[in-house]
């Protein structure tokens, strides 16, 4: 990696961090310290929401309840049982983690709304439990918590808690940022595009959603633990739905797609809330939750006008430090043994797919051998893309069977089909527009990670996964170079032309080291010389023993590429043969040109 100076921050950020670090040493009013302590506590929760809202497209209004679980657990452990706050932290994680795990488990296969509603309802249940359980002190809560201390050093004064809180924020921010630019984090970000594409790249989306939700909850729980020992008392009020919503508000305000957005949002929120609480009642008179009204209106305006929050406006002025960078050298990933040339790779028998009364694919059978390029052509709506989806288990067969190298794959989920060595691209390029081309391609290597003794998440957050990342990113860069995108590694994928997006998808598929590659219209939108380059790449892949099934409309492109062509019309196979035979087949001419 290139030398970029000692710290991965830009100058303005270093100034901000230094100011935060030095604040307690300056002669400021203690109210400042208190405000900054709250900013830190809120930022921890918002960092969790960066994982949820900003990355995985999940939404939770229940983070306040998780903060409460962390706070009440440590309160119980330290006051009733008289045990150490550090035990309270661990038990708080345990309680919160289990609660979040269960919520995640029951919503993981449902659409995003259900998680949001579940967090509201369960959040309510938890809140009312705090307010009504005798052992938790009902509405009065629990008092006289001990202060934190380590090896006799006490953190009783709030200036000292300041360092504990902001130290935790710094660790959490770095951890989240590292995580998001790792193998696991890329998969989390891919969830924003729905389940189909990540599953087709071997990612277990259901499991990953639960994991993401639990991580966010653990950050909230940590914030609750710090809060409890800062206040030395807990009561139900700060853990209700209102506060759960405020966490969402500050994250969206700052910018949910960046850890810095979370911290900025928490800071702005504390500032705003303070101003609004003091100013509005004086201006407008009477009693009213004016701050609630103002925050609600602001949230609506931000969502309408600047959905990415305020951070991107600031970040535009800074050059982004790149965490994910492809090394020039790295150990090569282990590759799958290739089948012997001519060995049958894929057998599709009697594929059928019905949608209601329509038959989209009817009794389609074909084989592909090792080192063969088979083209699937036909007019629009003939069922070609559906056939692709059936082979890769993205859609379920109504009848028929697909086997890959002797294993029946038609009942497997698409991630298992991918894991066996069937890679694919989509007709409509399915890339994360804000992620770099390199990281998009690296998604395809998701299953080729190392596995870490301390767990993937911890290894990623602490960057102990660097060896793994080097290998994966090197592989991604290598495949991108092969498809001709070697110069665009760090471009945001959304800025590529349509044809190049398809090439990036091919690189992503190649990162999975497939034995069989399915390409849906790879040449569409390419210029002439790009087509020539793609054609020679596919030739080369074939010579390495890869089998390729492709849907394509550019007959000129296919002519010199395909070994065999099969033709579909109305969901059926109507012809097969060499490209020349098919081109001159009267049935094919009729299907394309009509008579």
């Amino acid at each position: 990696m290139k030398d970029r100076g000692p710290l991965p921050f830009q100058a303005p950020l270093i100034v901000v961090i230094a100011l935060i670090a030095l604040l307690p040493l300056a002669p400021v009013a203690s109210a400042w310290i208190t405000s900054f302590n709250y900013i830190g506590l809120f930022a921890l929760v918002a960092l969790g929401l960066v994982l949820l809202i900003g990355s995985a497209n999940m939404l939770s209004f229940g983070q306040a309840a998780f903060v409460g679980l962390g706070a009440y657990t440590t309160a119980l452990v330290t006051t009733l049982a008289g045990l150490s706050p550090w035990l309270g932290l661990v038990l708080g994680w345990l309680v919160t983690g289990i609660a979040a795990y269960l919520i995640g488990l029951i919503t993981r296969r449902l659409s995003g709304h259900y998680l949001a509603i579940a967090t509201m309802a369960v959040g309510m249940a938890i809140y009312f439990a705090f307010a009504n359980l005798e052992v938790l002190g009902k509405n009065d809560g629990l008092n006289a918590l001990p202060h934190l201390s380590i090896l006799g050093f006490s953190f009783e004064r709030s200036e000292r808690m300041y360092y504990v809180i902001w130290g935790t924020v710094a660790l959490a921010a770095l951890g989240v940022r590292n995580l998001l630019s790792s193998r696991i984090g890329r998969a989390m970000r891919a969830l924003a595009l729905g389940d189909t594409m990540p599953e087709a790249n071997g990612i277990d989306t259901a499991r990953l959603k639960v994991l993401t939700f639990v991580l966010a909850a653990l950050l909230a729980s940590t914030s609750g633990w710090l809060y409890a020992h800062l206040q030395r008392a807990v009561s139900p009020i700060p853990f209700g739905l209102t506060h759960g919503t405020e966490y969402v508000f500050m994250t969206v305000l700052g910018g949910a797609s960046s850890v810095w957005g979370a911290i900025l949002g928490a800071g702005l929120f504390v500032l705003l809330d303070d101003v609004l609480r003091n100013l509005l009642p004086r201006l407008l008179g009477g009693d009213g939750h004016y701050e609630l009204v103002a925050l609600g209106v602001m949230l609506i305006v931000i969502l309408q006008r600047a959905r990415d929050g305020l951070w991107p406006f600031l970040a535009r002025r800074m050059t982004e430090y790149r965490l994910a960078e492809a090394p020039a050298q790295a150990p090569v990933l282990p590759a799958r043994p290739r089948p012997a040339p001519g060995e049958p790779v894929l057998e599709a028998r009697g594929l059928q797919k019905r949608f209601g009364g329509l038959v989209a694919v009817s009794n389609v059978s074909f084989d592909i051998k090792a080192g063969e390029i088979l083209a699937l052509i036909g007019p629009n709506g003939a069922g070609k893309s559906t056939t692709f989806d059936l082979v890769t288990s993205v859609q379920r067969l109504s009848a028929g069977e697909v086997s890959f190298r002797g294993t029946k794959i038609s009942d497997l989920p698409s991630r298992a089909v991918f894991a066996l060595g069937v890679g694919r691209t989509f007709q409509h390029a399915n890339l994360l527009p804000n992620m770099s081309v390199l990281e998009n391609a690296a998604l395809g290597a998701h299953l080729r990670g190392d596995g870490h003794a301390i767990g993937d998440v911890l290894a990623s957050a602490s960057r102990l996964n660097r060896a793994e990342e080097r290998k994966l990113l090197h592989e991604a860069a290598k495949q991108l170079d092969r498809v001709g995108l070697g110069d665009s590694l760090y471009t945001a994928a959304g800025n590529l032309a349509l044809g190049q997006q398809r090439l990036a998808e091919i690189a992503r598929a190649l990162c999975g080291d497939p034995t069989l590659l399915l390409l849906d219209e790879p040449a569409a939108g390419l210029r002439y010389f790009e087509k020539v380059a793609l054609s020679s790449l596919l030739h080369q892949l074939r010579s390495e023993g890869m089998s390729i099934l492709l849907v394509e409309h550019d007959m000129e492109f296919l002519m010199e590429l395909a070994d065999r062509v099969i033709v579909m019309d109305f969901g059926r196979l109507i012809a097969s043969g060499t490209p020349e035979q098919v081109q001159n087949d009267p049935a094919v001419r009729r299907a394309y040109l009509g008579d």
């Binding site: 449902l110 709304h113 249940a125 009504n132 009693d287 949230l299 969502l303």
Partner: protein, 351 residues
């Protein structure tokens, strides 16, 4: 628990269940047409009830001023949008502006005038109820215009966030409009009847009758009338609806207005039975949500079943474990979601 108590609790549960069922149906309606999880529905219940209480106290309810102010803001938004469109594509009449002025300025002004006039007159209960509905329901299309209309093509989770923002704006304003104290309206059904040895309160009978009537009216609206069919068409196929000229904004406004109307009727029905304050809407609305989840926000019958499960559980737990009533009712989301997962087919192949 003896059988008499059990039956009494069941009676309570069924009456509340009817209310939750109406709210759940309204939520399904709004979600199907607009993809909006209409969390502020509970506030419409409470706003109507508290407005009625103010009217019954011979006051001009402060919701009148809210209606006028929100109407002005909505009109300004319409004017701004009109000017922007005019710059892009000159030509065309000013009809949309007149329509907006009628809806957002004239109608609120007229309602306010009538409310002031009536506050001086002796009270007539049905008229007071009608007035409360007239003041609160027109807020719904204005809220659609201001909060949701600019976001028609947004990610569903953005609509969720906007909904919860609207919910808190309405709660915050509610404190200012109605004050912190709770109150009850005057009873509209002060009688009771005996049914097989069981005493049934008049209010329970009225709630059930109103629910049944409203369900029939809704059914006829959706099955027989062109506007009802147009709303269904939007729910079934949004692009198709656009192609025949059913406007997204118009149908969104209509859906929210219908939901607000249903919620307002719920507010009238429950107002004498329970003490409500500006915060009460949250719990009522969320319970409607828990019920609607059972039907996956698409099935009206399952939403109704969910509503009665919620209300009966609530009724019996208030007897056995009253302190933990809300804990148990909201925890019901867990089995309901499990059931939902079981009812919905796996998401394979859905794009």
């Amino acid at each position: 628990m003896n059988p008499t108590v059990a039956l009494l609790l069941a009676q309570d549960g069924i009456a509340t269940g009817a209310i939750y069922a109406l709210l759940a149906m309204a939520l399904v309606l709004v979600f199907a047409v607009t993809r909006i999880p209409f969390i502020p529905i509970g506030e419409f219940v409470v706003y109507t009830a508290l407005t009625l209480i103010a009217i019954q106290a011979n006051q001009v309810p402060r919701t009148v001023w809210l209606l006028i102010i929100v109407g002005c803001v909505a009109f300004i938004a319409d004017v701004a949008a009109f000017i922007r469109e005019r710059e892009r594509a000159p030509g065309g009449g000013t009809a949309p502006l007149w329509f907006s002025a009628a809806q957002n300025l004239l109608l609120p002004a007229a309602i306010a005038a009538i409310a002031m006039l009536l506050s001086q007159k002796p009270r007539i209960m049905p008229l007071d109820m009608l007035m409360a509905v007239l003041i609160v329901v027109p807020l719904a299309p204005m809220i659609y215009r201001l909060a949701y209309q600019p976001l028609v093509s947004a990610n569903p989770l953005v609509l969720f966030m906007v909904s919860i923002a609207v919910h808190f704006v309405m709660i915050g304003l509610g404190l200012n409009l109605f004050g912190p104290d709770g109150d009850r309206a005057e009873p509209y059904a002060d009688w009771q009847l005996e049914l097989g040895g069981q005493i049934v309160r008049g209010q329970v009978v009225m709630v059930l009758a109103a629910t049944a009537a409203l369900t029939v009216i809704l059914y006829v609206f959706f099955a027989r009338t062109v506007p009802g069919k147009a709303l269904r068409a939007v729910a079934v196929n949004r692009v198709g609806a656009q192609l025949v000229g059913i406007g997204t904004a118009a149908s969104g406004k209509l859906a929210l207005t219908l939901a607000a109307l249903i919620a307002a009727l719920c507010g009238l029905l429950i107002s004498p039975g329970v003490t409500l304050n500006y915060l009460s809407g949250e719990l009522i609305g969320l319970k409607g949500f828990v019920a609607a989840v059972l039907g996956g926000f698409v099935s009206y019958p399952l939403a109704v079943v969910g509503a009665f499960i919620v209300s009966l559980l609530e009724s019996y737990t208030s007897f056995w474990a009253s302190a933990l009533k809300e804990v148990i009712v909201f925890s019901l989301i867990v089995p309901i979601l499990l059931l939902r997962t079981f009812l919905s087919r796996p998401d394979m192949g859905e794009h």
